[in-house]
Symmetry: C2
């Protein structure tokens, strides 16, 4: 009743000061809860109880915000895992840490690829290169080797993001979604698509994280083999 007394009541406004960091955290929360396309400027103004201009005062545009959110998630992963243990273990743990972060925040997978010059990926490259160096990979072989690892990680990251989007769009639970994918593959013509047909039959026993790490090991074995010869 009291609220109705004055016409055209304002929405309650926030009292604490806004900052780039507060905005980035709100963006991450929206992205985690509802995915990339749910991150609209309107949704942000509602969640932060503020106006458009306030957000644009701290952030250049939507892409800048998406990039900052990605850096926010990836930054600590690399810092926490890059220098731990022997180089081979450190490499595996950077990779696993990235996989887990992208699994928890699938939108990061799409974003990492989109703006590769951002700090997030720079840190990944640097950490991978440093560990390869520690593994006694010859200096001139480091860039190609690091590129193979990082690009592989980016590929998996992108696939994860796509899968998460598809899973969300399907509105099925994870179990039935995977069963559906397997069924679609199994239905493929076994003459035209023998490998995929077969893969459809074995999807149950498949673990994404294990396969990801197997790929890392494969590439590390390749790096070792090439530099031995």
């Amino acid at each position: 009743m009291a609220a109705m007394a004055s016409k055209s009541q304002r929405a309650p406004r926030r009292t604490e000061a806004l900052s780039r960091d507060v905005i980035v955290q709100a963006a991450v929360a929206i992205l985690d809860a509802e995915g990339e396309e749910a991150l609209t400027l309107r949704a942000l103004t509602v969640r932060l109880a503020t106006g458009y201009g306030a957000i644009y005062h701290h952030v250049a545009d939507r892409d800048d915000l998406l990039g900052a959110a990605t850096d926010h998630v990836i930054g600590r992963v690399v810092a926490d895992t890059g220098g731990v243990g022997k180089p081979r273990e450190a490499l595996r743990s950077v990779a696993a840490g990235l996989f887990d972060a992208i699994d928890a925040h699938p939108w990061v997978g799409a974003q990492l690829t989109r703006e590769p010059w951002r700090p997030a990926l720079l840190d990944v490259y640097e950490s991978v290169s440093a560990n390869l160096h520690a593994l006694d990979v010859p200096e001139r072989a480091v860039p190609d080797s690091a590129g193979a690892l990082v690009n592989y990680i980016l590929g998996v990251a992108g696939q994860n993001a796509a899968n998460a989007r598809a899973l969300a769009a399907s509105k099925m639970d994870r179990e039935t979604f995977l069963a559906n994918v397997a069924a679609r593959w199994a239905q493929l013509d076994p003459l035209r698509y023998p490998a995929m047909h077969k893969a459809g039959q074995h999807l149950r026993e498949h673990d994404d994280r294990e396969q990801f790490l197997a790929g890392i090991d494969l590439i590390l074995a390749g790096i070792a083999a090439v530099n031995r010869g």
Copy 2:
């Protein structure tokens, strides 16, 4: 003058029938010329001299069209290169063919990752798996090995797309753009980013396509090494 006689003259309409294929080709032309964000429904109606409904009659929505355009570009690459020569050469030539297609149509790189269940990627997986099989990779090792190769290719594809977008946005020519990237890397603190700092100094001698193929060879060497042991 004659045109002015009747008020509210209609835009000239196409005489030939519209088809999904004609629409896909127009989409590819727009994507190649101006990039992904230039592909608007409005731009399509103008180019095809038709209305929105005509397009939606042949195509589910914008994502469907983007996917069909990707299949259009990738489909023939795999068909043309997958079965040529010895398995190792066939594998290299599928990879190189994909690289060249993505280099010529950078938007494909972003799209391939976005909808991985589409025919485009299915064909790639199948071709890679078949050639690994022909390389005598043990059956149970094929999925992980194919995954490593395909995800690596997708990672590079995504980077290529991002680079093309950045190059277009910068409005520099390729030469000065690369020089700028190199300069930015070279400016990085050599203590915090020693590897990237060094990479900035060698970017001139760097060939993306060579590095891509070096990565393929690295992974193939890894596959061979893991299955030998």
